[in-house]
Structure formats: structure tokens, C-alpha cells
């Protein structure tokens, strides 16, 4: 099997994020691998390990795992982390003209890269922790015309039959869906427990290849991406006024009563 995983580099969840000129100010904050993409990496490794004669991913498994990311140069840090977990190689699309791309442009670039790789499966996280749109996997599936198997809480792959079955887990309940390869998957965070990279993994990752692609290499035109081409336009971004300092009191035996007084005053009880 040839598996691709879309991974995004995002600002650290704890970092204070700000907007600059209508886009996220990415330069000023620490960047990490999107937490939720680690579950996709782990799931891909488990799929390969379960179908590998050596019970391991990598050479000798007969399968490959390629990371695909669109982002600034420093996304290589996030890529190294996923490589050290066990992925084989990576493609980073980086180009100044991509700055400020919206979801349509991002999905276009990722789909064009995926088309060149002859993959059987593409795995994604369910959302990025910065923009939190939860739309890229569905957009990629639509663009490629591949089966959409998203929000998977369970994945079962049958490489001999070229089929994959998932249990989709959403607020509407659970649904079993299946399809033939090729397919686009996204996995929810309850699916597994991502491994910590081993020392051996970290050393090996330093030697694994990362191919840099420019926008021209993807075949997408520069008029289709970036801030100027965006299908949506941020008019303004304002720091939310801090919540007015709230009331804080220590329970002296009547905390519950005080709380109800507050609710009544606010017409909430």
C-alpha cells in the first residue's frame, strides 16, 4: 500500500495567537505538529504494521508512508516529528505565494500533490487546532473524486481486497461505511494513543528525505492561491475585549446560595 498523511504545522496550543493583516501571525509563535494529526500518523503506522511481514513500518514492510504538508519552511520541524514516529518520507509544499491561502486553495494544492503519488489511502486529522474548520479532508475527497471516509473512530483495511471500512463517529451517532481504494480518511482523537518517538526513531528521521515543492512544481497557478485569490476575505480581526472582571468569592458555607442569587439577578434561574 502507498499511504499519504496530510499534516499541518500549527502554533503551539498554549501560545497566544494573534492576527496580523487578516491572517494568523505565524512568525511570532512556537510551531508544532497539529496534535490531531498525530493520530493519523499513528493509525497509518498501525495499518502498515498489521500488514507487514516484519511487523514494522519502513523498508521491508512492502508499504510506504509519505507525509504531505503545505506550509512555511519551518514546517520541517513538524515533519521531523512525524518522521521520527516512523513515516518514511515527506513532501513539503512551500512558496511565498501560498501565504494567506484559504481552505479552497489549500485543498487544491494538497489534491494536486496527492494526484502525483498514486496513493491508496490518504489519512488526515479531523481538524487543525488553529483554524479548526474541519473541511480539508472532505474538500480533498471531492476534488480527487475518491471515497470519503471521515471522522473514523475505527479503521479496518483489507489490502488483499483493496477495501477499507470505518466507523464514523459524530454527534449524530455511529455509522459503518466502506469503500474500495483509493480513499480519503480522517481519524478522530479517540482512535488510538500516538507513540512517542524513540531515540532510534529520532536519529533515523534526520536522514529521511523531505522533498521541497514550489507552487509551480504542483502545477497549481499562482492566481488560484494566496491572500489575493481567497474566496473569503477577512475584513477585520479584533482582540476580544477581556471579559469584565468577574465576581470571585470563597465559599463560607453559603456559596451555593450566592451563586443562585447571581443567576437570578442575570435571569438565568
Amino acid at each position: 500500500m502507498k499511504i499519504a498523511i496530510c499534516i499541518k504545522q500549527v502554533p503551539d496550543s498554549w501560545a497566544e495567537k494573534k492576527m496580523a493583516g487578516g491572517v494568523l501571525d505565524r512568525a511570532g509563535v512556537d510551531a508544532v505538529l497539529n496534535d490531531l494529526d498525530e493520530y493519523a500518523v499513528e493509525e497509518a503506522l498501525r495499518i502498515v504494521e498489521a500488514n507487514s511481514p516484519t511487523k514494522e513500518a519502513g523498508e521491508g514492510s512492502g508499504h510506504t508512508i509519505t507525509l504531505i504538508s503545505m506550509g512555511p519552511e519551518r514546517a520541517t520541524e513538524a515533519i521531523r516529528k512525524a518522521l521520527s514516529m516512523g513515516a518514511d518520507d515527506a513532501i513539503l509544499v512551500t512558496d511565498p505565494s501560498l501565504a494567506g491561502s484559504d481552505a479552497l486553495a489549500t485543498s487544491l494544492v494538497l489534491s494536486e500533490v496527492i494526484k502525483k503519488g498514486n496513493y491508496d489511502l490518504v489519512l488526515c486529522g479531523t481538524e487543525s487546532t488553529d483554524a479548526r474548520m474541519s473541511v480539508i479532508p472532505a474538500m480533498i475527497s471531492q476534488r480527487l473524486g475518491w471515497a470519503q471516509l471521515t471522522f473514523a473512530g475505527k479503521v479496518a483495511v483489507n489490502p488483499a481486497a483493496n477495501t477499507v471500512e470505518i466507523e464514523r463517529v459524530t454527534e449524530f451517532g455511529n455509522q459503518v461505511m466502506s469503500a474500495k481504494f483509493p480513499a480519503v480518511l480522517s481519524v478522530v482523537e479517540k482512535i488510538n494513543e500516538p507513540r512517542y518517538p524513540s531515540f532510534k526513531g529520532i536519529m533515523a528521521a534526520k536522514k529521511k528525505p523531505i522533498t521541497n515543492m514550489s507552487l509551480a512544481d504542483t502545477g497549481v497557478g499562482s492566481s488560484d492561491v494566496g491572500s489575493a485569490a481567497a474566496w473569503s476575505n477577512v475584513k477585520e480581526a479584533l482582540p476580544r475585549p477581556p471579559r469584565g472582571a468577574g465576581v470571585k468569592l470563597t465559599d463560607e458555607g453559603n456559596g451555593g446560595e450566592k451563586l443562585v442569587e447571581f443567576l437570578v439577578e442575570k435571569r438565568l434561574a
Binding site: 496550543s13 498554549w14 494573534k18 484559504d102 481552505a103 479552497l104 487546532t129 483554524a131 479548526r132 474548520m133 474541519s134 473541511v135 472532505a138 474538500m139 475527497s141 471531492q142 473524486g145 475518491w146 471515497a147 470519503q148 471516509l149 471521515t150 471522522f151 464514523r168 459524530t170 454527534e171 449524530f172 455511529n174 455509522q175 459503518v176 466502506s178 469503500a179 480513499a183 479517540k190 481567497a230 474566496w231 473569503s232 476575505n233 477577512v234 475584513k235 477585520e236 479584533l238 482582540p239 476580544r240 468577574g246 465576581v247 470571585k248 470563597t250 465559599d251 456559596g255 451555593g256 450566592k258 451563586l259 443562585v260 447571581f262 443567576l263 437570578v264 442575570k266 438565568l268 434561574a269
Partner: protein
């Protein structure tokens, strides 16, 4: 007047509370046009008539079997046909995927998780865990906007919407992943978490005993939520988890009991109108965003508050 189409969420013949909210938004912008994917739409039309709805378009077919991919196909055909001023969809996992695919098919811009859209189609989003407010517009195609549930009070109305049937086809690509079996969520007696006007949540501080949390919730007519620490420990179902990897809620009132307020939890509740916290630790981060906080033991504070509310109702 231009039409604003909104997608009606329904299950087991009942529309969700969010459907009335979308109708209210649509009517504030133009003619409010509901689109319903269902084979038997009449009961749904009746319910929609209690909200400001000018027209209902029904689309029948194998949409349940093929899920969001198929619904996106049908919606895209409708948009190409009617060229509405905008499309409004509720921000759920399904809703966002339908929006995503329809945006690719029709070459239209998409804005997700808006908490408001005004008559000029300028949206408001609350991003980065509520720390930043963004105003945006779609500049290409038919604006496709997903709105969070509970972001507006639905207006009641006595409508008699004209009903139209639209015929849509499902593409081969959207049929590649059929749904082979389905287990709907079992609804308890309490309101739905994402729809409720009040949510009372418990965390690790409950030490596994959710009774005081549930009792307060019931006294207030609220839904029950939980932190991930509580769902991971198996104290409460995962479907009740609030936060980044759980549900996003923005009720009128959010009560956090025994929850520290980790950034991933706040990501799911920070847009709540009023936040109340009960925590033993005066330094807990949740207290920073609370409008009213009691530093104390939830096992004392919650039962006292519950008793007081029940007594007041007398």
C-alpha cells in the same frame, strides 16, 4: 428580494432547534428558503412553519445511504439552479463537510463556525479559543456559511411556506462509500448538549460522582457536559465531552464544576454568554474567564445551589 437558502437538520422526523435559528438568520437577510432532504417531508414542513420560512424545497432520494457527500451534490445542484444570495448550514461534523464539498463543486467561498451573519452577509467568528473576533465576507460564488448552534434566539412565526420539489442526482463519486449500518445516539431525558441554553459540566473534581452535577442540571433544565479527564476516566460518555475534541457549545449559561479550564476545554465553551465556575483551587485558570466563581468544594456548593433553585420554584 433575494433568497437565502438554509439546510434543515432533522432526525427521526424532527427538526433540530438550530433549524429555527437558521430560519431566523435567513429571514433577516432576505427571503427565507428551507431545503429539506427527506422522502417524507410533510411533518418537517409543518414544524418549519412555526418559524419565519417563505418557501420549503424538498429533495428526495438515497441521501441517507450516502451521507454528506450525496447531500453536498444535491445542494450544489440547487445552488446552481437558484443562485441564492447565501447558504446557511449548522456547524456540525456533517454540516461542515456538506459545506466543504458544495463549496468545491460550485467554486464558492466558505466560512465556518460563524456566531453571527448580518444583512450584508458579514460574518462574525470567534477564533483562537475566543481570544479574537474576526469579521469576514465571502468574495466568490454563493457565500456558504456555517453557523454555530445557539448563536441566536429563534423567532417564532406562523408561516405557510410554499412547498416545491427539486429533483437532484447523486454522482458516482458520492456513492463510493455507502453507509452499511447506523447507530443513532440514544437521547436521554435531558436537552441536547449543543442545543441547550444552559450546560452544567463536571470534571476530574467530581471524582467520578456526577450526581451533584446532574441534580443541578435538572433543576436548571440544563444539559450535562464533561471534561476530557471525566470522559477518559469513563465517568461520563464521550458524547458529552466539551472541548476541542468534544463538542463546542455556546449556551446562555455554562457552569464548570471541578474543571481546571485547560485550553482544550476552553476551546469548546469560551463563547458561552455567562460562565460560572466552582473550583477548590483559587488559582485554577477557569476562574480567569468566569463571570461568577465560587472557590469551594463542589460537593457543598452544588447541592446547596440545587436546593435553593428547587425551593425558589416552590
Amino acid at each position: 428580494m433575494s433568497e437565502v437558502i438554509f439546510l434543515v437538520d432533522h432526525s427521526a422526523g424532527k427538526i433540530t432547534k438550530a433549524a429555527g435559528e437558521l430560519a431566523t438568520y435567513a429571514k433577516s437577510i432576505g427571503d427565507s428558503v428551507a431545503v429539506v432532504f427527506a422522502d417524507n417531508a410533510q411533518p418537517i414542513v409543518d414544524q418549519l412553519n412555526t418559524f419565519p420560512v417563505d418557501k420549503v424545497i424538498t429533495i428526495a432520494g438515497e441521501f441517507d445511504k450516502y451521507g454528506p457527500a450525496a447531500i453536498a451534490d444535491g445542494l450544489a445542484q440547487l445552488l446552481t439552479d437558484r443562485k441564492p444570495a447565501a447558504v446557511l448550514i449548522t456547524s456540525t461534523a456533517n454540516g461542515k463537510e456538506i459545506a466543504a464539498r458544495a463549496s468545491v463543486i460550485t467554486g464558492s467561498g466558505i466560512i465556518t463556525d460563524a456566531v453571527n451573519v448580518d444583512k450584508d452577509l458579514i460574518t462574525t467568528q470567534s477564533v483562537f479559543g475566543g481570544s479574537t473576533t474576526v469579521h469576514a465576507t465571502v468574495t466568490k460564488g454563493v457565500p456558504i456559511i456555517t453557523l454555530r448552534a445557539n448563536s441566536i434566539e429563534a423567532t417564532g412565526a406562523t408561516s405557510s411556506a410554499a412547498v416545491e420539489i427539486f429533483a437532484a442526482t447523486i454522482s458516482e463519486a458520492a456513492k463510493l462509500a455507502p453507509i452499511t449500518s447506523s447507530t443513532p445516539v440514544v437521547k436521554g431525558g435531558r436537552p441536547d448538549l449543543t442545543e441547550a441554553s444552559i450546560v452544567v459540566s463536571g470534571g476530574r473534581g467530581t471524582n467520578g460522582d456526577f450526581k451533584p452535577v446532574e441534580a443541578l442540571a435538572d433543576a436548571l433544565g440544563a444539559a450535562v457536559g464533561a471534561s476530557r479527564a471525566a470522559t477518559d476516566a469513563g465517568w461520563y460518555p464521550h458524547s458529552n465531552q466539551v472541548g476541542q475534541t468534544g463538542k463546542t457549545v455556546s449556551p446562555q449559561l455554562y457552569v464548570a464544576a471541578g474543571i481546571s479550564g485547560a485550553i482544550q476545554h476552553r476551546a469548546g465553551m469560551q463563547t458561552s454568554k455567562t460562565i460560572v465556575a466552582i473550583n477548590k483551587d483559587p488559582e485554577a485558570p477557569i476562574l480567569e474567564i468566569a463571570d461568577f466563581a465560587v472557590v469551594g468544594d463542589l460537593f457543598n456548593v452544588l447541592p446547596q445551589a440545587t436546593a435553593q433553585i428547587i425551593a425558589r420554584k416552590g
